[in-house]
Symmetry: C2
Subunit: 436 residues, 2 copies
């Protein structure tokens, strides 16, 4: 912050005047935070963007150079995507600005390097808004529960998926219908891939792993499964099992090796669990610590205003003179750690078959050969024999055994659709068990 | 922190070696936080307390003077109660120590003065553990959502009450039975007054009002209602209304005057609401902001280890060199604000009567005279006519009108027990409505 910051407040330039940028500008245009002053807005086509509710002395520009050359204390990067956002952040830091960003891709892919650079410059790089929008999870992990030794982070990190899944559950509609609905309401993009296939949550999980578990992983090393093969009938069977289906982003330290197991995939979770109770487009992050047990943080994970609150909270942290700490919010340096994909869990397996004698026996035989115990077979009445859904639940088994068994099962010719398999997540080992 | 703190880490003295003190010492005795070093423990009767798992070079003392005279950087006050805790905190600050405390009474009653003193000494006074134990709510309010303008804080802040109420709900037992159960399991004290009558939550709410809404109120100005008059049958009727019963601590800024409305009382909340979903001895804090909407924080509100995590997180904040900010965590100076007790809400009214003709008509007449509209009359079958519970729900009316009507109703001779009235809390005005 420049020397005169004390008198004139902390000056802020926004790069990217979309939904979040406008919401940040709106908050800074109220009298809520007298210590913050919006002085610059940078966006393409400012003639179209210029808003009359922004103070008349704010400088509007289409060139990021103007922001870099300006005397602003903090640049707020809200253009999204990897490029040119990463370069812009680097340029702002090199010019002696602190940076606040909501950009999950940049932080997930290049956070450690950018953080090193910020540290060298004695400037802040804050990114509360990059994960779970309005939920102050980065700060909670970094400061609120830092006294604990966290060993697991689970979350529902993508509001679009959660909207689609809770819609399928409550309205008993297909994935396609729920997606169309979400698109109509503006909860899903025209191209929903990043959300439904898990890329969005993958980047957010990589950041949570860094901040909460102190490990750097390559974003693309976190395995993904799409929610698109889930059918309405799965929610009926899940309910019979006391469960709901969520897109779960999950990472844990492996107690033996200290390695990281992580994934983003649809899973059955108990309907009474913290993950199970989060509905609609809300997000939740549940952390487990060796000492403090389970703590949950929920709220609006996206949307202009909640995300803007996270940005402004970061700005206030800078304005209050929080020092650039030597221990930064992200572990720095060193090679990314490998991510273990292998896991052990009970499984939910839904088949869609042409019914005929011997199906259960054939499947049971495959599982027996792979050392997997069948827990239950569930079949709701009233479905066509030509496209019959039924479910098998399996006792805890390794994902490797499951994958091998499923390869054998794929050979059968009674499938109408490929089988769907989902892990059934309970709470796993407790803190006490891990310490024992 | 003394000059050599960098090399030897931040040194810590614990005053009060009870459940929380021991849990703090246990965490500091692991290798989790190399920057923190436990050097002193102060407690009565150390011969009985001394633990063999504490490092042999730790100094044990029965005199707080020894802690004050020692070179420790931070004194952790865990003796509880107003006196001598307040004096000890003052002495530690005057001796140039920073102080971390879990003492809700001291912070609720004297936090502003102590914070002023800490500021003058350039020392920290941190109290994350004083509210909702393992939930990092003080930091979340102060830093995580500070970019917002909060207008309401609601919480289930007392795990004992929540255990008793969820036990009554699930087991359909009386208050006395659930309390006895909680006492047997160690969730409730032999004298449960502070918990069930609301004093514990009252102190915590006063702190949340200061930190989150920026207003100082006198603890004893927050009105209380005990949960002890709730009967098992109330949960049956609540369920018919889609609700559960919780001890709700609630404070809001009044949009017109900027004054504070606050209370700690049992209330009906929708079973699907954030407050309704918190079960057992867990706590939750739900904050509503003008910009960010509703954000919820839940976890273990009490217990040695979760509370110890909060203490250690505060210690790490100090060890990292967080500056003593000019804007302290509590608003300082000025007279406490008056607390408005008056509120408007729909009401649940449960009568326990000797059944006879004309009861409903008599009650209806009283409500009509007080301008209160009856919404519904509910009567479950199968109860004795000599002790018949039934429920009336009332449309939103002021608590003043309710109180006046109840005074008239008390005159009737058909009561077997005094009627129970509970507000039915929905979510109230939304952020958007408030901004309009």
């Amino acid at each position: 912050m420049s020397e005169s910051a004390g008198q004139r407040g902390c000056t802020v330039g926004i790069a990217g005047f979309g939904t979040v940028g406008q919401a940040v500008a709106r908050i800074l245009s109220t009298d809520t935070h007298p210590g913050l002053r919006l002085t610059h807005v940078c966006n393409r086509n400012i003639a179209r963007k210029k808003a009359d509710w922004v103070a008349p002395d704010v400088v509007w520009t289409e060139s990021f150079d103007d922001l870099v050359d300006s005397p602003v204390d903090v640049v707020v990067e809200l253009i999204g995507g990897l490029s040119p956002a990463r370069e812009w952040i680097e340029r702002a830091l090199m010019a002696g600005k602190s940076v606040v960003t909501a950009n999950k891709q940049v932080i997930a892919h290049a956070g450690a390097q950018l953080m090193t650079q910020a540290g060298q410059q004695g400037r802040h790089l804050l990114f509360e808004a990059a994960v779970a929008g309005g939920i102050p999870i980065v700060r909670a992990l970094r400061e609120g529960v830092c006294g604990d030794r966290l060993y697991r982070i689970q979350g529902v990190l993508n509001g679009t998926c959660n909207y689609i899944l809770t819609e399928m559950e409550h309205e008993q509609v297909s994935f396609a219908e729920a997606l169309a609905d979400a698109q109509r309401l503006g909860y899903a993009e025209a191209d929903p891939t990043a959300d439904v296939d898990g890329f969005d949550a993958q980047a957010k999980l990589a950041i949570l792993i860094a901040v909460g578990l102190g490990r750097i992983v390559r974003v693309e090393d976190i395995p993904l499964r799409s929610i698109s093969s889930i059918a309405a009938v799965d929610f009926l069977y899940a309910k019979r099992l006391g469960c709901v289906i969520r897109q779960v982003a999950r990472a844990e330290l492996m107690p033996d090796t200290g390695g990281i197991r992580a994934s983003v995939r649809p899973a059955l979770v108990p309907e009474t669990s913290a993950l199970g109770r989060v509905g609609g487009s809300q997000n939740i992050v549940v952390v487990d610590g060796t000492f403090g047990g389970e703590t949950a943080f929920s709220g609006f994970g996206a949307g202009g205003e909640p995300t803007a609150v996270a940005v402004v909270s970061d700005l206030l942290g800078i304005a209050r003179g929080t020092p650039v700490t030597r221990e930064a919010a992200l572990p720095m340096g060193g090679e990314p750690q490998p991510v273990t994909r292998e896991f052990k869990a009970p499984h939910y397996l839904r088949f869609m078959i042409v019914d005929r004698p011997g199906v259960i026996a054939a499947l049971g035989d495959v599982f027996a050969r792979h050392g997997i115990n069948v827990d239950a077979v569930l079949q709701e009445p009233g479905w066509s024999k030509a496209e019959l859904p039924f479910v098998m639940t399996l006792e805890a088994c390794s994902s490797t055994a499951m994958t091998a068994a499923l390869r054998a099962i794929d050979e059968f010719d009674f499938h109408v659709r490929p089988p769907l398999w989902l892990p059934m997540l309970a709470n796993g080992a407790t803190a006490r068990e891990r310490r024992a």
